[in-house]
């Protein structure tokens, strides 16, 4: 079956997707179809979409870190120039060991996105042409986009800030005033008195 923009789009696309087992689909808007499926069946879906439904454009691969579930969520955004629908295919893979298959052989742009995700999340894609560093070549910390990496704390530890001593501040301090709240103070959660007691 080949999709055409004139046919009843949502029905035929859903009919096509029935070939994938364990797949749930949901129309979020007339041009956005969310698909949740098992990680093993994703290559089959992608092959199906590209081969039979004209989804030739890989718009992006997004990665979301869910440390509580110990999972990475990968979202493949695929667009079809023919039927003008964007399919967002969501899969979950375990954070450990954090390895998944590359779709480079089907979509060339995947190389960039997979490399980026590898750099930022430490998720390895088997079969991707280049998993070398691209942006973070001078970075030897943990993959920064992982939730457990607290960028702000790292920055506070790594850098000093300007210690401004302007004349007006000295005058005010001489009169007994001065800085009461620094911007860093309001960013911290206030301590709760009952936590101290216990």
């Amino acid at each position: 079956m080949k999709l055409s923009p004139t046919s009843n789009l949502s029905a035929s696309l859903e009919f096509l997707l029935q070939e994938i087992s364990g797949l749930r689909s949901q129309w979020k808007s007339p041009r956005r179809l969310r698909v949740d499926l098992q990680a093993e069946t994703l290559p089959a879906l992608i092959e199906l979409l590209k081969g039979r439904a004209g989804f030739v454009h890989l718009s992006a691969i997004s990665c979301v870190d869910w440390p509580a579930q110990n999972e990475f969520e990968l979202v493949y955004h695929l667009w079809s120039y023919e039927v003008k629908v964007l399919v967002m295919a969501h899969i979950r893979i375990p954070r450990d060991p954090g390895i998944y298959l590359s779709i480079y052989d089907l979509y060339r742009p995947a190389a960039f996105f997979e490399r980026d995700i590898h750099e930022m999340f430490g998720l390895f894609f088997e079969g991707s042409p280049d998993m070398g560093k691209f942006i973070l070549t001078e970075w030897d910390g943990p993959p920064p986009m992982r939730k457990e990496f607290d960028g702000e704390a790292w920055v506070m530890n790594q850098f000093d800030w300007q210690d401004y001593q302007p004349g007006w501040l000295k005058d005010i301090e001489a009169k007994g005033g001065g800085i009461t709240t620094r911007p860093e103070d309001v960013r911290r959660d206030k301590p709760k008195p009952w936590d101290e007691q216990s």
């Binding site: 060339r108 280049d130 001078e138 970075w139 920055v155 790594q158 850098f159 800030w161």
Partner: protein, 246 residues
């Protein structure tokens, strides 16, 4: 560069007191005047503030009427314009570039980011205070500053140069240990640049009390002698990727 010794050393210290020859400083002042009227600005877009430089350079705000024009090579540039945030990766290149520039040289930090981190104060990827790593001559406030503000800052810099007040480039030699220490803190102990700042400081009589210190000692410990520069970038190791359409 082996001809370094042949370059005459010019003393930039003004003779103290007014007892000397009235004409003694005339040459220096003329030099300073001329210098201030032909500044070459290194064409390096380090951050987002660079977007306001093309308007400043071209017809509308016309930097060239001040004698300032972009220069593509650091070897001939006088001004290093750091246009906004500098990521760690860029900062390394900026320091290399700065050290390659010929003295006297001036650094202008524009935008908030060069002062105290700016917008990206939380970012793990950017350096926060430019003056930790390089001596800065002029700051221009804004995020980003308008071309008028940039030109205003450049005029201030010209004025300072004419008066002989802008000589922070010496500071880099005199307090090299300080700058190197901050660089090492950010880039790691093994950090070294191909320019021999200590040697140049000795040669040009620019040694200061803080030229040498614990950080330069660390540098001497870690540094590997510069080998004759092989023209290789390690590209051979990387897979050559030429996607053929199927």
């Amino acid at each position: 560069m082996s001809t370094l010794k042949n370059i005459p050393v010019v003393s930039h210290e003004k003779p103290s007191g007014g007892t000397g020859n009235l004409l003694a400083n005339v040459f220096d002042e003329l030099m300073a005047f001329c210098r201030s009227r032909s500044l070459f600005m290194l064409h390096y877009c380090t951050g987002c503030g660079a977007i306001e430089l093309p308007p400043a350079m071209t017809s509308r705000f016309d930097m060239e009427r001040l004698g300032i024009q972009p220069m593509v090579t650091p070897r001939q540039a006088d001004i290093l314009l750091v246009t906004g945030y500098v990521s760690t990766k860029t900062l390394k290149r900026i320091i290399l570039t700065y050290e390659q520039m010929n003295s006297p040289k001036y650094v202008i930090g524009i935008c908030s980011c060069t002062v105290n981190g700016g917008m990206y104060w939380q970012s793990y990827a950017t350096a926060k205070k430019l003056n930790d790593y390089l001596p800065v001559d002029m700051y221009i406030a804004g995020c980003m500053p308008r071309p008028e503000a940039v030109i205003h800052g450049l005029r201030e810099l010209m004025e300072n140069i004419k008066k002989g007040e802008s000589d922070n480039w010496r500071d880099y030699y005199r307090r090299y240990d300080h700058y190197l220490g901050n660089q090492q803190r950010l880039f790691g102990e093994n950090w070294q640049t191909p320019t021999d700042i200590i040697g140049e400081a000795r040669h040009y009589d620019l040694m200061g009390p803080e030229t040498l210190g614990p950080h330069t000692a660390l540098l001497e410990q870690h540094q590997t002698p510069l080998k004759p520069f092989e023209m290789t970038l390690g590209l051979a190791d990387l897979p050559v990727r030429k996607d053929e359409p199927r």
